[in-house]
Symmetry: C2
Subunit: 130 residues, 2 copies
DNA sequence: ATTAATGATACCATATTAGTATCATTTGTC
DNA sequence: GACAAATGATACTAATATGGTATCATTAAT
């Protein structure tokens, strides 16, 4: 069981690499450095481009560079892009059974942990990793 | 993306219920109270029995009761039983690419968060939920 | 003997994650 | 302009984990 998927992990590492190199970085270079399958890496970068984290350049000499500053890119932002809504635990019980969501001791405690984790994941940025 | 699966969630709620009722509790009662599919609930309870969290009684009037005290049953223990090793993030990169696991900034930071979460999940027990 | 319970085990369905394949489009270089 | 080198878009496939079902065996109270 993992909180962070490969998608997000690879994305973070790619972003770190790109962030270090001021020039435009092509997929091939990232693939060589990170050892990630090329088509998979491409897909990830395209998504980051669509979400305005990266800027892309087509044609010869093309590739990707950061579109926003490394300080603005947090782990949680990347996780949201690749994993959607992240949560420790939704209530699995039907409302009929568990009508008092507000009172549920389990949920309450998990919520606290969750908030804490999110805060920390928000504070870790590409800038802080490079 | 969930940190806690239904398995674990149902198990926790079942344990809470059983903990409150000092008598032996049968599957049917739990199923009615929690609205969980019967065969699924059975499977969960059987596993808890195998792992010595519950004690089972066969035959008419049989069912389950706690085998250890509610204070000893933490969320993390249940998660381990149903979800195996829980971790925020293993290193997805091959060793050849990322030989310096000790130095990896990403892993280091995640490890810290992880330890924190585990500590908290260890402190929440069935006793503290009931 | 019957019935009401759990034990064990094998199987199936669905969703998510991870990855592949293909063709279209853009752009720099000759 | 032709060509090559890059990304854009999209659809498909494979593997894994999760969430169950189904069935028969075993035990124990009545």
């Amino acid at each position: 069981m993992k909180l962070i998927t490969r998608n997000s992990d690879y994305a973070l590492r790619a972003l770190c690499y790109i962030s270090k190199h001021k020039t435009v970085v092509a997929v091939d270079e990232l693939v060589k450095k990170l050892g990630v399958p090329r088509p998979f890496m491409r897909k990830i970068l395209q998504k980051l481009n669509k979400r305005n984290i990266l800027e892309s350049f087509k044609g010869q000499g093309g590739g990707f560079k950061l579109k926003v500053s490394a300080e603005e890119i947090s782990i949680i932002k990347i996780m949201h892009i690749f994993q959607g809504q992240v949560e420790l635990n939704g209530c699995f019980l039907k409302k009929a059974v568990c009508p008092n969501r507000g009172k549920c001791a389990l949920r309450k405690k998990l919520r606290l942990i969750e908030e804490n984790v999110f805060k920390q994941l928000k504070d870790i940025t590409i800038a802080s990793l490079v």
